[in-house]
Amino acid sequence: MTVAPEKNPPVKLPNEPVITPQIVAEHGLAPDEYERLLKIMGRTPTMVELGIFSAMWSEHCSYKSSKVWLKKLPTKAPWVIQGPGENAGVIDIGDGQAAIFKMESHNHPSYIEPYQGAATGVGGILRDVFTMGARPIANLNALRFGDPKNAKTRHLVSGVVAGIAGYGNCMGIPTVGGETNFHAAYNGNILVNAMTVGVAATDKIFYAAAAGIGNPMVYVGSKTGRDGIHGATMSSTEFNEDSESKRPTVQVGDPFVEKLLLEACLELMATDAIIAIQDMGAAGLTSSSFEMAAKGGLGLVMELDKVPMRETGMNPYELMLSESQERMLIVLKPGREDEARKIFEKWELDFAVIGHLTDTERMVLTWHGDVVGNIPIPPLVTEAPMYERPWTLTPLPPELDAAKVPAPTDWKASLLTLMSCPDLASKAWIWHQYDHLIMGNTAIRPQGGDAALVRVPGAPKAASHKGLAMTSDCTPRYVQAHPETGGRQAVAEAWRNITAVGARPLAVTDNMNFGNPQKPEIMGQFAGAIMGMAEACIALDFPVVSGNVSLYNETEGRPILPTPTIGAVGVIDDIATSAGSRLVQSGLALVLIGKTKGWLGQSIYLRELHGREEGAPPPVDLAVERRNGDFVRGEIVGRRVHACHDLSDGGLLVALAEMCLAGGTGACIKLPESDVAPHAYLYGEDQGRYLIATDDGPALVEAAHKAGVPAVLLGYSGGPDITVDGLLALPLQELRDAHENWLPGYMNSAA
Amino acid sequence: MKARVHVTLKNGVLDPQGKAIGHSLNRLGFPEVGDVRQGKFIELELAETDKVKAKARVEEMCRKLLANTVIENYSIELVG
């Protein structure tokens, strides 16, 4: 490696400490990583330079433990415009329009300060999407909390939900979907994964690569304060007792300013003044400026004293590492500064030219005229540490014999227990705090279908309404039991949920939440999950276009359940041909699609009624998945389906109960002749299955059989009860009370 | 000169936030806490040096913006 000779070695700032091994360690750099730094720099770094390396080489920014594995995921398809590597993924949805989306975690900050952590998580992912030129049209979020009995859980749920609501509602973006689970493995390390979907014209997409030597670099948005300094390094280390005292490093969000920033950016994007644009997320000004210069193969000079500051006495180190929110970096075409400034001033936002592009491939930082940092850009990226950490795959547990799992002694009680358990109880208490209707495009609301369905604004005027279906899915207990199966299942379930509303699944964003990658069994979970996901994404033509990795999700050495959250997007040409899951009409035939073996291993039934988390998770046959799904989608868009629900947690009976409750109509079914025990038939979690309500049951069954798809007519909708012939008759109202009262009751009870 | 403005809810106006704070304090082991009323504290840096004039101006600010006199009272304290 050759290093260009340094013309302007940096000056030391007053009070600048001497770099000691201790200071290096505090910056999260391993001794060999520091050696690498010295080789690149050819001298001892200044504090600001050390801070920059530390941030750029943190797990959060460099993906040093995960990169080798992420490369195994498929990222291409004819409809993919931009895969991983930009702020968000971009796919073509027809009519000259693109969907731009990504999911991102804000786990550690949300545990420390749930309201602000979750709020700024939403703010960050929104910026990732509108940075690329899209107007956000929907938010989703996947939340995992600890055991409800844990002393902190209630406070965390309350704060996280209020934070998501506070930010998303103020921004005026509907929060239309998501999922919430509880498990003791998240007691000290909750997960907050936020996803945003936006829409832009395919010829008006903005990227981060800087271009044009001499062009101005412009800072817009909020002023910089001392928020979250070292947030990126913080979220790359394990939690310990000390993290309770790390509170001040959590950044505070201002959704009002972000709303102004959104409008101002979109207004500027409507002109042709922008060359490149990048939001300041983790590691703030450092990573945004580096990425822009590195992607453009250029260098830059930044005059840090020109950065708008909120507090007095700030220094270059703080300015480069601050994670103050609601800020953007823009490269403008020369001479367009005044035009841009006018727009930002109209929206009452800061605007400052803080530097310009050079051909040196170096980042030169100045402070009142003195050079305080001078780093060669390419080696910082190309020489970044990358690890193929040792990994051990989790062996597949033996299959659990359903015959050895006891049937419920009281069927009624069993269904009431499942429908009111924390994972399956209604989450209405949560989503009623989210404005899920603003923009007037929400066609399928939370609990109204397997995926949220939102009309695409700006599509050509026609009688039909094009829609985007979106969902987020993962079954962490399956991933824990066998990561490959769990990874495959998470992707398949997302694909199934998009299918179940009648939409064509298009692409995926993944949010990989795992424990400490330096432990071979954790790295093995990561590797296994990726292998399963890759296989499913390939088989289902469901490429990964964006994503985020969150590692070190451990407390005192105890890891979370491995949680590769899959966010997915699909398209439907006409919302009028979609289907929700609400059973609103009597006399409809209920047809079960897919084969039922009665798989009880790792089922919710096993866990909630027998306190056991055992066995192999249900296998996913991807060819069957695709065949069944394609059939179901055809029936839905052919308008032969009134309602459709995929079978997941809790199996057939829970799916039926959810359909009945959502639509306020009862149902009566009879189990077909089979050698599967009734409790395994009703509560087993075999994959690739759907429950469909239709006018003509026999016709649907016949069509399915013609397509080689297993299908059986189980019964009809109607009446005030949910009835399984010979086993169960439960008034819907009693079921509703159990299902809907758990969460509000829990949240309102004394700590 | 500095003006410190306290904005509080009028007596008789329900204060759900105050009530929630009271409940939480009771729950946290402060049974001695009875009624809780919450409000806002606003500090203003003023160029004015004349106390009488300053008071009149801040009064006007309170009536026009800082307080909603339908439900809120305000009090003003001048310092320095």
Binding site: C170, G172, H432, D435, L437, G440, A443, A576 | -
Partner: protein, 230 residues
């Protein structure tokens, strides 16, 4: 009907109401920036929902002091109809165009849900397409919709028929505050000024104008205004 929709920093449902007006009139309303004290003559002024100025200090307080609101007050005094929805209702009360105020929801949380409203009178330019006593379903989405006014004001509102909408059960009944999403006094969801030319309401009729996107119960409000103002 020529309509103007005001836009403040932080407004976010101006597009929704503009879309509803366009759907009914076939014409895009004029969008008016908060700093513009002067704007074209119109038949209706809409103050839309959102979080003007981030809802900081008090919802609607800062927007109520903007140049555009000074102009709105002047025109309202001349009888130009004003419709304030959600944050717009808060702004209009802060500006003194309607009595009372909107306080924090009694349960302290933001609430987004469909609610049932009982139309209290059809005798206004806003409600002429509804029947008195009719029950409609439209959504609410707010954290501060808890209507409050002193006893004298409440009595005056009742006596003069200035209550436009009340939250109710699906059958129109109001028992023990049933159907009330925010703790509002007397289940009030919307009120008129004494000439019934200004209406403020917390629910969002603009999000209930299309069958596949929330139903159509809010559409008659816009159709009624078109009929009265064209």
């Amino acid at each position: 009907m020529k309509a103007a929709v005001l836009v403040f920093p932080g407004s976010n449902r101006e597009g929704d109401v503009a879309q509803a007006i366009e759907l009914v009139t076939g014409r895009r309303p004029q969008m008016v920036w908060h700093g513009d004290g002067d704007f074209e003559k119109v038949d209706l002024i809409v103050v839309p929902g959102g979080f003007s100025y981030g809802d900081y200090l008090r919802c609607g307080a800062m927007a109520a002091q903007s140049p555009v609101m000074a102009e709105v007050k002047k025109r309202a005094a001349q009888g130009v109809p004003v419709l304030g929805i959600c944050n717009g209702f808060q702004i209009v009360t802060e500006a003194g165009l309607l009595p009372g105020t909107l306080m924090r929801n009694s349960h302290l949380k933001f609430v987004c849900a469909d609610v049932h409203l009982r139309v209290e009178t059809s005798q206004s330019l806003f409600t002429n397409r509804y029947q008195a006593g009719q029950v409609i379903k439209v959504p609410v989405a707010h954290a501060e919709g808890n209507y409050f006014a002193d006893a004298d004001t409440m009595k005056r509102l009742e006596d003069r028929g200035q209550i436009a909408f009340r939250y109710c059960g699906p059958d129109g009944s109001i028992i023990d505050g049933r159907g009330n999403p925010n703790g509002s006094s007397s289940n009030i969801a919307g009120v008129f000024n004494d000439t019934k030319t200004v209406l403020g309401l917390m629910p969002h009729p603009e999000n209930a104008v299309e069958p596949m996107f929330g139903g159509t119960d809010g559409k008659a409000l816009f159709e009624g205004m078109v009929e009265a103002l064209s």
